[in-house]
Symmetry: C2
Subunit: 385 residues, 2 copies
DNA sequence: GTGAAAGCGCTAACAG
DNA sequence: CTGTTAGCGCTTTCAC
């Protein structure tokens, strides 16, 4: 008999049952009389089969007569059994089906950046097809952040993906290794002994820089992503330009140098956000000897610079050229299209997903470096005479 | 003796051990000789205490002598034991420590919207403090979407939070109820018998509409969020304006009517994105008899309308007033500030988090309706003569 | 094709 | 304060 929903506990939390009356389970026959949810054993009993057979009926992983299977499924419906308890399954299988995704910054900041979002989207899509769930693990990269997140230490996960690693890799990777959780790094240091998925930052930036020198620019300033957890905002002294703690920042800066460009000035931002780009733009363009071109390490920063330029009454690209990195669609810049290095964001997430798959299969995935392409938009032009 | 890392399997996946040689565990003493990770029993044995004592040493949930505790911890370090296996703990406790967050749309689309991101941020912050992790469950709201996500059916979670429910609530809520997973709805229909966290959409929109009529506007058009999973883009016939499947759309539309405003025209967008707002703006402002004010159901849509107006050479607010809803910071509109209804996004997430907490404590949380405030910016002004 | 048995790794009574 | 005991709910050999 089906017990009317209204009579059952509204939201029965799955809690350990109180010790059973007398060693044995409740007498067979008769549905769940307590507010407890039924188990596979209950269903098996109701269907008159063994637990192992009932298990097969749900997993389909083994030979079972269609009729038996149906009998089990019917019993399940009658008992309001919604399928095997994932906790039992997970313990038995030794796998949680969970991939921990460490987002390298406060969510609020990370997800304001379409770059992270698109990568995450590609990742979730790939993992979803493998029946893997994504557990969000925030990991503040700010200075004075409170060590690693507790989730990292104790949440169930089969694999971890570290997004935008760079400055805090050491602690996070250490915790994961200690736990024996295989890890994929997205855009981290390639020297770590974990598989890394990344793009050709350096080559892309070099091509972009060359594009500007080809246009005759000689006074080129660079607006960078954060150098370190300190997240300074402002000009970077020549002495401090080497070896930013954040890997991407370093690689994209190196690309500029590869093209033979010695930056007119370098401006560090605390985060890849439009407003920080605007601040940078205002500062650089109102300096005594302003640059004729500004090379930004992200599109969001670049669009801030473009807005600042417009605000100052400067024409882009006639008075100043601006270029970014990422290849985002920036509707609010319309009708302008930002000159940028386009990186395949969703593919990056998908590649990370495939690395996860390989790790789960016990393989050691190779590092991946995805290619980037140069997109010449309307925001760069010949250097003003 | 500590076994050098290099000699151990690089990334030992936690897999069910092969059946032990002879009923008993491997002989006590001597570290883990196989590539298997040590268990609490191993640590207990090494420390010369019982498993339960060892458990206490880690959980701290019970009386234990400091010396014993230290001995256990030392043994753990020696064995490279990183703490209790979450899978075992979860099964035993009957709790996973996981909150499933169903994002009511493709991630890519959802997270391009700062609104979702800020709510999620508030939620994650609150749940993190409770030692709960967030499992992302994508739930495409598009027409012809592939039923409910498998994760919803079978992932381990103690509670679920449904973000932006509205059109697909029925299936999702049904699946969750069947599984006995308590659920919190953010911005869903208040008729569901689950706790709902929301804002005063309707009242806020009414105030905004009144602000416009006070300024003398009589031809007011409305740009709306999607009406249904079909996600049309274009004008909505008068006959079709009632009862959108999406609850928020309906409530915000009702607010306009509450203020006594009969929309000059209503334009439906497929998603809350700048580009859709721009499309709407172009269409409405180039129509034969354009509105003097455009009321948008989100700030992203409103900013698209502002951009379209500027593009058409119209001055905002002299030629046309534009208002939004959400109260976002939109740096690219600077120096303009959008007139908008400000909703407390992070608080909304936090409120959802508290509802989760209550549910886990076995309580039935009350519905929450957070207040909104009107922000008069620079994008609305007197109706043109 | 089906059933019996053996745990996965852990925690929480309860007894000492 | 510590040890004993009894499972949480499930999957997976292995016999039959």
């Amino acid at each position: 008999m089906r017990i009317p929903t209204i009579l059952r506990v509204r939201w029965p939390l799955r809690q350990p049952r109180p010790p059973r009356p007398a060693g044995r389970r409740r007498p067979t026959g008769g549905g769940p009389l307590s507010s407890q949810r039924p188990t596979l054993a209950d269903v098996a009993a109701a269907a008159g089969v063994s637990v192992s057979t009932a298990s097969l009926a749900f997993s389909g992983a083994g030979p079972i007569a269609a009729a038996t299977r149906q009998r089990v499924l019917d019993a399940a419906t009658a008992l309001d059994y919604a399928g095997p308890n994932p906790l039992g399954r997970q313990l038995r299988r030794g796998r949680s089906g969970i991939v921990g995704v460490v987002v390298g910054d406060a969510l609020r900041r990370s997800f304001r950046d379409p770059v992270s979002v698109q990568v995450l989207d590609g990742l979730v899509g790939t993992l979803g097809a493998l029946d893997l769930g994504v557990l969000l693990i925030p990991n503040s990269c700010d200075a004075g952040a409170p060590a690693v997140d507790p989730l990292l230490e104790s949440a169930a996960m089969d694999v971890a993906v570290l997004l935008w690693g760079g400055t805090t890799d050491a602690e996070v990777l250490g915790a994961l290794r200690r736990r024996g959780v295989p890890t994929v790094l997205v855009e981290g240091s390639r020297t770590a002994d974990v598989p890394v998925v990344g793009i050709d930052d350096r080559g892309g930036m070099a091509r972009l820089a060359r594009h500007l020198t080809d246009l005759g620019h000689r006074r080129i300033s660079v607006v960078t992503l954060p150098f370190s957890r300190e997240r300074h905002e402002g000009l970077v002294d020549e002495a401090d330009r080497h070896e930013p703690a954040w890997v991407i920042t370093g690689r994209r800066l190196a690309g500029v140098l590869d093209a033979g460009v010695v930056p007119h000035s370098v401006w560090e931002t605390p985060a890849s956000l439009v407003e920080h780009g605007a601040v940078a733009g205002r500062a650089l363009l109102t300096a005594p000897e302003p640059p004729t071109a500004i090379l930004c390490q992200s599109d969001l920063l670049a669009s801030g610079v473009v807005l600042a330029a417009r605000e100052l009454g400067l024409r882009v690209p006639q008075d100043v050229s601006v270029a970014g990195f990422d290849g985002l669609d920036l509707p609010w810049l319309a009708p302008d299209v930002l000159t940028s290095v386009v990186q395949p964001l969703a593919e990056k997430g998908a590649a990370a997903g495939h690395a996860v798959e390989a790790l789960l299969a016990g393989e050691q995935p190779a590092n991946v470096e995805l290619p980037v392409t140069l997109r010449i938009g309307t925001t760069t032009g010949p250097a003003p005479a």
